[in-house]
Point group: C2
Chain length 225, copies 2
């Protein structure tokens, strides 16, 4: 892993962004575990790039809070605690409550169609026990709803936080009863959205996120972070 030659690709984006995505993915999936040191020369070699774009990627990750910088010692992947997970879900819930009014106001029939399609795809993934697909679709569902709002900065806060917990989505989905319940909740949320029932939506989202949080925390407690 972390190998591959970028020089052959049609570079529409800077190499630093590709390196950034790659490292971020590795950290989020846990491939690069907490505490792992990122040695510039080693990673630059593996990615077949020079240190310059790699360092720029590291500076971004630093601001993201995914890695920690130590003077003259480089960067290490930061650790997560249960308290972090708790806060992340709390923030997300709180921000969602702020978004919902504008979402209810702005949702269109076309949006609902998109959501229904995603839900039916989750049906399939659930039936086929394709949990990777399900994790991705779940995220699409949430992102679609969030994107209906016009509050760009609030949306960004949610995005920033969500990055951190993507890593745990597999853990959460691994719970049999949770993945079925979550899907049911999603359907209810879509229904409430279609009715533009703000209060019900708030209730559903608060419940949904709380349940996800608890499942996530419980799973992490059992299997270690």
């Amino acid at each position: 892993m972390y190998s591959g030659d970028f020089s052959t690709m049609p570079e529409s984006r800077p190499i630093r962004d590709i390196a950034y995505d790659r490292l971020k993915h590795a950290i989020i999936t846990g491939e690069l575990p907490a505490g792992a040191r990122i040695v510039e020369t080693a990673f630059a070699d593996q990615l077949h790039i020079s240190r310059t774009p790699l360092r720029e990627a590291l500076r971004k990750l630093e601001r993201d809070g995914l890695v920690e910088y130590v003077l003259r010692r480089g960067v290490v992947v930061r650790a997560f605690t249960l308290a972090d997970i708790d806060e992340i879900f709390t923030i997300r819930n709180s921000m969602m409550m702020l978004l919902l009014p504008s979402i209810v106001e702005r949702v269109t029939k076309a949006d609902m169609n998109e959501l229904r399609i995603i839900l039916s795809e989750i049906d399939v993934a659930l039936a086929e026990s394709d949990f990777d697909a399900m994790a991705q679709l779940n995220r699409s569902f949430h992102r679609k709803i969030e994107s209906l709002s016009d509050k760009k900065r609030i949306l960004r806060v949610i995005d920033d936080q969500e990055e951190y917990i993507t890593r745990f989505s597999a853990v959460t989905i691994a719970s049999i009863e949770r993945r079925a319940n979550a899907h049911e909740e999603h359907k209810q949320m879509a229904d409430a959205l279609e009715r533009r029932d703000l209060e019900e939506l708030k209730r559903l989202f608060a419940h949904h996120l709380e349940e996800s949080k608890q499942t996530c925390i419980a799973a992490v407690k059992n299997r270690g972070l």
Copy 2:
């Protein structure tokens, strides 16, 4: 501005961080206005540094959302809208509501003493019409209270947002009635905190931030952003 030779300093921190702070300050104060293009070679020369650390600083600012990157054209300072200000205050208020319970729980006598000292210093600044000092002290007051919480991630969200509005604090303080009212509200907040009166604190903070927001928006509307 943007000049100064770092090479003579005892460099306890990397140059890139110094450049980062410098640029951030310039952007926040409006010295570098929205839309201004940051040409790497020019700024590196002015700061008497090479492009490498400057670019790393720019990548951080990019993640902060303070500058915008355009492929092969470098970075430009991002613009702010009234909607941004509205969202920033909304986020801050919402996050504060999440922090207050732990703040009320954790506040000590020593903390209250610190807060009282800050308040008395604001008294002086107010009497002397030293608005720069007042802006800084106000911020210290808020930061002190926020720091009483142990919710690091929520605190960080607040910090991130506050950076953006620091730039408008002068605008807000310029309002005669607002600066006196704000100070009164601060005192009431300190009192409520000392009594560990959570509900009253929530009420006071919500009111305080709402008033600040309205003053800020009104001021920006009048004087332009």
